[in-house]
């Protein structure tokens, strides 16, 4: 057993927990010293109390937003790897469309979200589309870079042994590019939550099962700052969960060098 039992904790979670604890302690100290009113900066205890008080609303919101973000992330991951692979395999397509793919990260999502609602209607579809759009580019970019860095000699070897293009992609390209693809997926994990919440701001349904984005908007309007913090914390939690899930998958899929 290592110091403080660190080695028994999965994914080296000890240090992130330590960092989080220090951050929360600093936040509590700042609130205590500054004596800020609750509507400007609530302390962690107030936020926790508000989260408990509104647990039903927050629970439903968490489920809603997490499932939407997961769908958006899934679409971005799947289509990003496919698009990246096609762009990497066909040079003229890459030259024509890769610069355009950059547009995905340059278009302000807050401006696009209302348009998506007009095109796709209210509800989950618009938020999923928003999350997918925001999370797509890092997956495409990292897939293209990863696939283009595969050793050409290995490709020649696969050709000599008569591997088809699809088999070469599956057995050589993807495993070789996996570290970079996973880097893109980890970035996309956080972005998909941001895209989801922005999408929810304009396309979600209000009510008892409102998503996190609308809980934030409602609480802001009602000056319930502790609830705003609790809802923002929940959305961060969704991002963290996705990030750690991708990191775990990477540990399983990518052998250490």
């Amino acid at each position: 057993m290592g110091a403080f039992g660190m080695k028994r904790l999965p994914f080296g979670i000890f240090y992130p927990l330590l960092g989080l604890s220090l951050l929360v302690a600093a936040w509590a100290l700042i609130c205590e010293l500054g004596q800020f009113p609750e509507y400007l900066l609530p302390g962690p205890a107030k936020v926790a109390a508000s989260a408990f008080e509104h647990r039903k609303i927050l629970g439903a919101a968490l489920l809603h937003t997490a499932s939407t973000a997961l769908l958006g992330f899934g679409f971005a991951a799947g289509s990003g790897v496919v698009i990246g692979s096609i762009l990497s395999a066909v040079p003229w397509l890459r030259r024509a469309f890769y610069p355009l793919a950059n547009l995905l990260q340059m278009v302000p999502v807050v401006a696009i979200a209302p348009m998506l609602t007009i095109w796709l209607g209210y509800g989950r579809a618009s938020a999923v589309a928003c999350a997918t759009l925001v999370a797509l580019f890092p997956v495409i970019a990292n897939t293209v870079d990863g696939l283009r860095s595969v050793d050409p000699k290995l490709r020649e070897l696969f050709a000599i042994y008569g591997f088809s293009a699809s088999k070469t992609w599956l057995r050589l390209d993807l495993p070789a590019a996996a570290p970079q693809i996973f880097t893109g997926l980890r970035i996309a994990a956080g972005l998909s939550v941001i895209g989801t919440v922005v999408g929810e701001f304009v396309s979600g349904y209000l009510g008892q099962a409102a998503p996190i984005g609308l809980v934030i908007l409602g609480a802001l309007r009602e000056s319930q700052t502790p609830l705003v913090f609790a809802a923002v914390g929940l959305s961060a939690l969704v991002g963290f969960a996705l990030f750690f899930a991708v990191s775990g998958l990477r540990t399983l899929c990518v052998p250490k060098a």
Binding site: P37, E38, Y39, L40, P114, T117, I118, Y122, F201, V202, S203, G204, Y205, L206, G207, A210, L214, L217, G218, A219, L220, R221, E222, S223
Partner: protein, 329 residues
């Protein structure tokens, strides 16, 4: 290698120059501000006719030394005043009540509208003939989450079947979807719809009994105590501005259209005609009554938008009291 060092040295020099320039600029700006600091009045929306009196006052040479800061969706104006980041701001009445209940140092000093301009719009072809029939239906309505009037309408008409979505930033969804209903400012979006010749039916939320001072100017109570002359002058300037805007709105509308090019002067002119009846009331421009505040507080308590009790007098300062030299806040 030497070239690398050279580039690095160059970039360091550039970095140093840029940093120095930025710091010098910031320092200069700070010094300038220290010397001639103007009062800041934060608006809670883009320059539109709902602020016509403000821009007209400025055009007339009133509001000297007051900087009007245009707002944007979601700008937390009440918190900005309560924290002292700005001196005055435009806030809605229910926001004032909520924050005063939480101990915020806020007080309303001027009400732009004597009647709440909130409304719900439906297409004329829709089956809804009243706010009540709309609210009891299963229509999809675009509303702002957390708005006090929504709680009130739910309390009055039990809108259990309504499908609620966030109010779209534009009218595109409403125009496209004939079954859609949307929360509006009667003279803002209402004017745009009339101008586009879209046949609509508009229901005033005020008719349901929820009629708060929707657009009020607030400041810190401590400012009212310590800078009474400044507050008195501001109230006078705003009343003059609104009075002049109601007589002739075009000059101020031209100024606002330059600041907010998304709304044409024509639309602003149309809106200005509509808003006249909302600005003028039984009393003088900008004045407020204790009983209106009390009604709002009671309604907020009834709908559980407000859990702690608040006194109406804690939320606003009557103009007569602000003008009087003998009354202490």
């Amino acid at each position: 290698m030497p070239q690398y060092r050279g580039n690095r040295a160059l970039s360091r020099r550039r970095f140093g120059a840029v940093t120095f320039g930025a710091l010098a600029g910031l320092g200069g700006a700070a010094c300038k501000k220290k010397g001639e600091r103007s009062l800041r009045l934060q608006l809670n929306w883009l320059p539109e006719p709902e602020f016509g009196g403000f821009y007209e006052a400025q055009r007339l040479g009133r509001l000297k030394g007051v900087e009007l800061l245009p707002g944007s969706p979601g700008v937390p104006t009440a918190q900005l005043v309560a924290s002292g980041r700005v001196d005055y701001a435009v806030v809605s009445g229910d926001e004032v009540v909520r924050l005063v209940a939480q101990g915020a140092d806020l007080v309303a000093i001027f009400a732009s509208f004597q009647r709440s301009p909130r409304g719900m719009v439906v297409h004329q072809s829709s089956p809804y003939q009243s706010l009540e029939s709309l609210w009891k239906s299963d229509a999809t309505v675009g509303i702002e989450p957390g708005q006090g009037y929504v709680r009130w309408l739910d309390h009055q008409y039990h809108g259990a079947k309504l499908k609620r979505v966030p109010r779209p930033a534009s009218l595109a969804t409403f125009i496209e979807d004939r079954s859609f209903a949307q929360g509006i400012y009667v003279f803002a979006e209402g004017a745009q719809l009339v101008q586009r010749k879209i046949p609509v039916r508009i229901f005033n939320v005020a008719d349901s009994g929820y009629n708060p001072y929707e657009v009020v100017v607030v400041t810190q109570r401590v400012r009212l105590k310590e800078k009474r002359g400044e507050v008195q002058q501001l109230l006078k300037d705003l009343a003059v501005g609104w009075g002049s805007y109601l007589k002739k709105s075009e000059p101020a509308n031209r100024i606002m259209a330059k600041l907010n090019p998304t709304m044409s002067v024509d639309t602003m002119e149309h809106a200005a005609q509509l808003l006249s009846s909302y600005v003028q009331g039984e009393r003088g421009l900008g004045e407020m009554q204790s009983k209106r505040w009390q009604t709002l507080i009671d309604q907020m308590r009834l709908t559980q938008a407000l859990l702690a009790p608040v006194k109406a007098e804690a939320c606003f300062a009557p103009a007569a009291m602000v003008r009087s030299r003998s009354v202490q806040f």
